[in-house]
C-alpha cells in the first residue's frame, strides 16, 4: 500500500539514507528498529509524505506522491496518520483535539457553521471521536482540557487523534518511549486495534521487545538503509544480515 523505493536523502552533505526501501500493507504492523540518530524520524517524515526524497519514489496505492500536484498530494497525505514522540496536544478539550483531523477534512461551509454552533455551546462530538477515545480507554475524558492530562494520557489522546479520521496508514514515532508500563500496554493494544481495522501501522522504536510484541514484520535501519526487512520471528531468530544479527545481539556499538 505505502511504499518507499530506493530512496536517497541527505541533509546538506550528510547522507541519511542511500537506496532505502520499505513498505507497509493494509492490516499489518511494521516495526522500524535501529539505534538512536539513525534516521527513524526522517524515515517517518518520508512515509508521512511531508519530506521529499532526493532520489527514489514514495507511492501510496501505486500513485507516485511527489509527481502528483499539491491538491492530490494533500489528499494522499490525509490518508496517513502520525503520532509523535511528544503528544503535542492543542490547547483545547480532549474532544476538540481528537476531532481535529475530521474537522480539517470538512468543507469550509460546514466548519464555519460548526464553529458558530460550538461558540453557542452546541455539542458536535461525533461517533468517530468517541470510538477512537474508547480504543485508548479515555472515553470519559472527552470534555477534559488537554492540559489537565498526565503524560501517558496525553499520548493516548494523541493516538486517538490520529485514529479518529480513519487513516489507511498510521505512523508512530517512538510512541511509548516516555510512558510507564501501563500506558505502554494501552498504546500497544491500540496498535492491535488499528491493525484489526485494516490500518497499516509503522512504528519506529528502539525497544526491541516492543517490536517483538506488536510487529508482523520488522525493518532494521542501520548505516543509511534497511539492512533487513522480514517477518518478526525471522529477524530476531535467524537474521540473514550480519550487521542485523550484531545489532539484535547488542554487539554493534554506536
Amino acid at each position: 500500500m505505502l511504499r518507499a523505493s530506493e530512496v536517497t536523502k541527505a541533509y546538506g552533505t550528510d547522507p541519511v539514507f542511500d537506496g532505502l526501501s520499505i513498505d507497509v500493507d493494509a492490516g499489518e504492523v511494521v516495526a522500524v528498529i535501529g539505534p538512536s540518530g539513525v534516521g527513524k524520524t526522517t524515515l517517518l517524515g518520508l512515509l508521512a509524505l511531508s519530506e521529499e526524497p532526493d532520489e527514489g519514489t514514495v507511492t501510496l496505492d501505486g500513485t507516485n506522491v511527489w509527481d502528483a500536484d499539491e491538491t492530490k498530494r494533500l489528499s494522499l497525505r490525509r490518508r496517513v496518520g502520525m503520532v509523535f514522540q511528544e503528544a503535542s496536544l492543542f490547547d483545547a478539550s480532549v474532544g476538540r483535539n481528537v476531532e481535529y483531523g475530521l474537522r480539517v477534512r470538512r468543507p469550509w461551509s460546514d466548519r464555519l457553521r460548526n464553529g458558530v454552533a460550538s461558540l453557542l455551546g452546541a455539542n458536535s462530538t461525533t461517533d468517530a471521536v468517541r470510538e477512537s477515545l474508547d480504543v485508548v480507554g479515555l472515553a470519559d475524558a472527552l470534555d477534559q482540557h488537554a492540559g489537565s492530562l498526565s503524560g501517558g494520557e496525553a499520548q493516548r489522546v494523541s493516538f486517538a487523534r490520529a485514529l479518529a479520521y480513519r487513516p489507511d496508514v498510521l505512523l508512530l514515532d517512538e510512541p511509548t518511549s516516555d510512558l510507564d508500563p501501563r500506558n505502554t500496554a494501552v498504546i500497544e493494544s491500540a496498535i492491535d486495534a488499528a491493525r484489526d481495522r485494516g490500518i497499516g501501522v509503522v512504528v519506529a522504536t528502539h525497544d526491541m521487545h516492543q517490536a517483538r510484541r506488536v510487529a508482523d514484520r520488522v525493518a532494521v535501519l542501520l548505516d543509511h538503509g534497511i539492512t533487513e526487512m522480514a517477518p518478526t520471528e525471522v529477524v530476531f531468530e535467524d537474521p540473514s544480515d550480519e550487521r542485523t544479527r550484531q545489532f539484535i545481539n547488542g554487539e554493534l556499538v554506536y
Partner: protein
C-alpha cells in the same frame, strides 16, 4: 439616548456643569476612533505576524527591525506625517480628510500597528513547533496550521490588541494634530477625544473637569481590558 443619560447621571453626582451631550460625545469620538483603528491594525497585524513568524524569507530581520522601531516611533511625528498626507497639497488632499475622524483613525492605525504586530509576533513565535507539526500531520493545510497557531497564541494576541488599544486611546499628540480638537457650534465633539479634551481643560485651568475626564478615560481602559480578558478566557477550563 440611554448612554447619554447614564453619563449625565454620573456627571450630576460630581455636580459639574457640563453642556448636555458634551462628555458623551467626547467618549464616543475617543472610542470610535480608537476601536476602529485597533480593529484595522489587528486585521493587518495578525497576518503579518504569521508570515514573519512562520516563514523564512530574505529581509526577515529587516522587517522585524522596522516593526520594533515602529513601537517607539514618536506619535507627534506620525501625526505630522499624516497631516501632510491629508492636507490640501498632500497626496490624499482631494479626499478632504483633514480634521476628521478618518484622519485620526489613520494616524492611530499607524501608531497601534507596531505594538500589535510585535507582541503578536512574539506570541506566534512562542507556539511550540511540535504543535504546528501535529496540525500538519493530522491533515491540516498551511492555512489550518496558521489557524491553530492563532488559537494557541490567543492570550498573547489579546495582550497585543490591548496594548494597541492602550496606545491609541491614551494618545494625545497625533490626534491633536490631525483631528484639531474640534467641537461643533452646539458644543458637541467632532474630533475632540478624551485626551485632547483633558489637555484643553487643564490648560484653561478647569482642573475639576480635566480630572473627571481623566477618570472616565481610566475607567474606559479598565473596562476594555476586563472585557478582553473575560472573552479570552471563554471555553477554557483548566
Amino acid at each position: 439616548m440611554t448612554f447619554d443619560l447614564i453619563v449625565q447621571f454620573g456627571l450630576a453626582l460630581f455636580e459639574l456643569p457640563f453642556r448636555e451631550g458634551y462628555v458623551s460625545s467626547i467618549i464616543y469620538v475617543s472610542l470610535y476612533v480608537s476601536l476602529a483603528a485597533v480593529a484595522l491594525s489587528t486585521l493587518f497585524s495578525i497576518p503579518v505576524a504569521l508570515v514573519v513568524g512562520l516563514t523564512d524569507f530574505p529581509g526577515k530581520q529587516f522587517v522585524k527591525s522596522v516593526i520594533n522601531t515602529g513601537m517607539g516611533f514618536p506619535s507627534v511625528v506620525v501625526g505630522l506625517i499624516v497631516l501632510f498626507a491629508v492636507s490640501n497639497q498632500g497626496p490624499l488632499g482631494s479626499l478632504e480628510l483633514i480634521f476628521t475622524k478618518q484622519a485620526m483613525i489613520m494616524s492611530q492605525f499607524v501608531l497601534a500597528t507596531p505594538p500589535i504586530t510585535a507582541i503578536s509576533l512574539a506570541a506566534v513565535t512562542g507556539v511550540d513547533e511540535s504543535v504546528r507539526d501535529a496540525a500538519r500531520a493530522l491533515g491540516g493545510t498551511r492555512f489550518d496550521v496558521a489557524l491553530v497557531v492563532v488559537k494557541e497564541a490567543r492570550y498573547g494576541i489579546a495582550t497585543a490588541v490591548l496594548a494597541g488599544f492602550g496606545r491609541a486611546i491614551s494618545e494625545v499628540g497625533s490626534v491633536l494634530i490631525v483631528g484639531g480638537n474640534i467641537t461643533g457650534a452646539d458644543g458637541i465633539s467632532k474630533t475632540r477625544t478624551l485626551t485632547t479634551a483633558i489637555q484643553l481643560e487643564a490648560r484653561q485651568g478647569q482642573y475639576e473637569t480635566a480630572m473627571v475626564l481623566g477618570a472616565v478615560l481610566v475607567a474606559l481602559v479598565l473596562t476594555v481590558n476586563a472585557v478582553v480578558v473575560r472573552f479570552g478566557d471563554r471555553g477554557v477550563q483548566r
